[in-house]
């Protein structure tokens, strides 16, 4: 199955990946190869077979919702990792922006 460059661009947009023209061509080819390879699963009869979503058999693992203290030191370490900060706040570009190219 061959993916079109439009499909590749759509997937890249969903995945938040900026791709070069060269990468688009390369991934179109490679994704097709991988998807063709995966087709082999269609020869397996899975009628009535349940999905394996997990293997531990554990169900509804819950715990008390308790607030734990975060030391000033730990807090400082986390804040120091922010690529962009305003005081102790994480600074990000505007989320709602009419010129945003995220409209899909």
């Amino acid at each position: 199955m061959k993916l079109t460059s439009q499909e590749i661009e759509h997937i890249a947009k969903l995945a938040r990946l900026e791709l070069t023209e060269k990468e688009k061509t390369m991934y179109a080819e490679q994704l097709s190869v991988v998807l063709d390879y995966i087709e082999v699963l269609n020869e397996v009869d899975t009628e009535g077979v349940e999905e394996t979503c997990q293997v531990t058999g554990l169900e509804d693992v819950v715990r008390e919702d308790v607030v734990e203290d975060c030391s000033k030191e730990a807090r400082g370490k986390i804040i120091s990792q922010f690529p962009s900060a305003h005081g102790n706040l994480l600074k990000v570009k505007a989320v709602f922006d009419n010129t945003d190219s995220t409209d899909l």
Partner: protein
């Protein structure tokens, strides 16, 4: 013999008797790193000052008779595992400056014993690969032949142990990332049962498959480590609270117990398998067959060939979702851009290597509207059939023996441009991963050109005990 060549067991004894100090042992490892890392590229970060500080503390513990099994023993950690205050890049430039504020639970367990961290090891970025060529910090070279790969994704961990730059290492295994590099570098490595070891602080890849486990020179050392690493953790809801056996004491405890061992024929008639590898593993099986307590029978796991296609749907799908958080916003390297979308897209474009992007693309496609049933759901159903294959043979046998890898270490660059050929490197390690079973790789010999070959033992779910017992028996043959 230099002291950095010792096993955990031997180093423990030496430290206890006062033959050498932890500072001396640590300096021996650091000297080896200085000498060899420029060629092998096993380490991304070497924590020399921290190591010497920790070694001094360990020596005090030993002097005060507070020595535990791992006190004063130098180790390395795969760079996709969080260690407090030490740069953890996952071998991707987007995390080039990332410094976690906490230890992963398994690392915390090990450090509580007084083990000494010498550095963070190179890997395929975010664990994506079987050759360590997908690192943005350059490939790891195999200590046995510098023109060849160390395997992956935990290639730096395997090479650091094989080349005696540390005594043991902690790696991750999603599809085979501990066992395959262990096999290619001639060391032992355990993928524990899914849910056995806490993954808190492990950078997630495919959450329904990811495990974290020990890599060391012997199975005996693996047992010592797994005992410290295993157990329920409130911070990882997928961990089970089954009791953790004293694996190291159990290694020889029931040596007369009868073991029925299955040899799955599908693992020996693979097209393209290296003949020498096959012969070395078969010769070892013949030796095991002569042991009075071991009975060998041939078994069949007909769904084996579907494990890789299942793996390459499930993993990229879960990957694409997990790696959504790696966007350069809260930590890591942020690219310059005018709007939020471009910040995400450009940070990821610049900071992630080709294979990571490829998997994100495959996974995003497989999970996108209209394709979920055809890909992810279908793969999860076939996964059930693979699990049932194992359940059926484990009614008949206690353990399975297979080769770990279909071939020894290959040349750097040899498979890099052939995506499918690279994926097939995991053909023998992926099935146990998909089924959530424990499996260990044990070194069993070398090819004529001197490359190591490993044998894999797969056990029943949560039966690490017998897997390690047989592994220990094999390493003493």
């Amino acid at each position: 013999m230099n002291i950095n060549e010792l096993t955990i067991k031997q180093a423990y004894d030496g430290l206890k008797k006062g033959d050498f100090s932890s500072v001396e042992l640590t300096k021996a490892c650091l000297a080896r790193i200085k000498k060899r890392n420029k060629d092998i590229n096993a380490f991304i970060t070497v924590t020399e000052d921290l190591a010497l500080e920790e070694a001094q503390i360990a020596d005090e513990m030993i002097a005060n008779k507070k020595q535990k099994m791992l006190t004063g023993i130098p180790f390395s950690v795969k760079d996709a595992i969080d260690v407090a205050d030490v740069r953890s890049t996952a071998s991707a430039k987007i995390l080039d400056n990332y410094v976690p504020s906490f230890d992963a639970t398994v690392i915390s367990n090990i450090r509580k014993q007084g083990a000494v961290l010498v550095g963070k090891t190179n890997c395929d970025a975010f664990g994506h690969g079987a050759s360590n060529e997908n690192s943005m910090y350059g490939p790891v070279r195999n200590p046995y032949d510098l023109d060849r790969v160390a395997g992956g994704s935990s290639g730096g961990s395997a090479a650091s142990v094989a080349d005696h730059m540390c005594i043991f290492s902690i790696g991750e295994d999603t599809g085979g990332s501990i066992r395959q590099p262990a096999s290619l570098c001639g060391i032992a490595g355990l993928r524990p049962s899914y849910g056995r070891n806490s993954r808190y602080g492990i950078m997630p890849m495919a959450s329904s498959l990811d495990t974290v486990g020990p890599m060391a020179k012997t199975v005996e050392d693996i047992a010592i480590l797994e005992e410290v690493m295993a157990g329920r953790d409130e911070k990882d809801a997928t961990t089970v609270d089954n009791e953790v056996p004293e694996y190291s004491k159990q290694l020889t405890a029931n040596s007369k117990q009868k073991l029925k061992i299955g040899i799955p024929k599908e693992y020996f008639d693979l097209e393209g398998m290296d003949e020498e590898t096959k012969t070395i593993v078969e010769n070892k099986i013949n030796e095991i067959a002569k042991l009075p307590n071991c009975q060998i029978v041939e078994v069949s796991l007909p769904y084996t060939k579907y494990a890789i296609p299942v793996y390459y749907i499930v993993v990229p799908s879960e990957d694409s979702s997990n790696l959504g958080r790696i966007d350069g916003v809260r930590y890591g390297v942020q690219a310059q851009a005018d709007n939020l979308y471009d910040v995400y897209a450009r940070s990821r474009a610049q900071g992630l290597p080709e294979e990571v992007k490829r998997r994100i693309m495959i996974g995003t496609y497989a999970l996108s509207a209209g394709y979920y049933d055809a890909y992810y759901r279908k793969a999860q159903k076939v996964r059930t059939l693979i699990r049932q294959d194992f359940e059926r043979v484990f009614e008949e046998v206690d353990l399975l023996i297979t080769p770990t890898s279909p071939f020894p270490a290959f040349k750097i660059g040899e498979k890099k441009d052939d995506v499918l050929a690279m994926y097939l490197a995991d053909v023998f390690v992926a099935p146990a991963s998909v089924a959530g079973l424990p499996a260990v790789s044990v070194p069993v010999g070398n090819t004529k050109s001197g490359l190591p070959v490993g044998l894999q033992i797969i056990g029943k779910r949560l039966d690490e005990e017998h897997v390690l017992q047989l592994g220990h028996t094999i390493e003493r043959l």
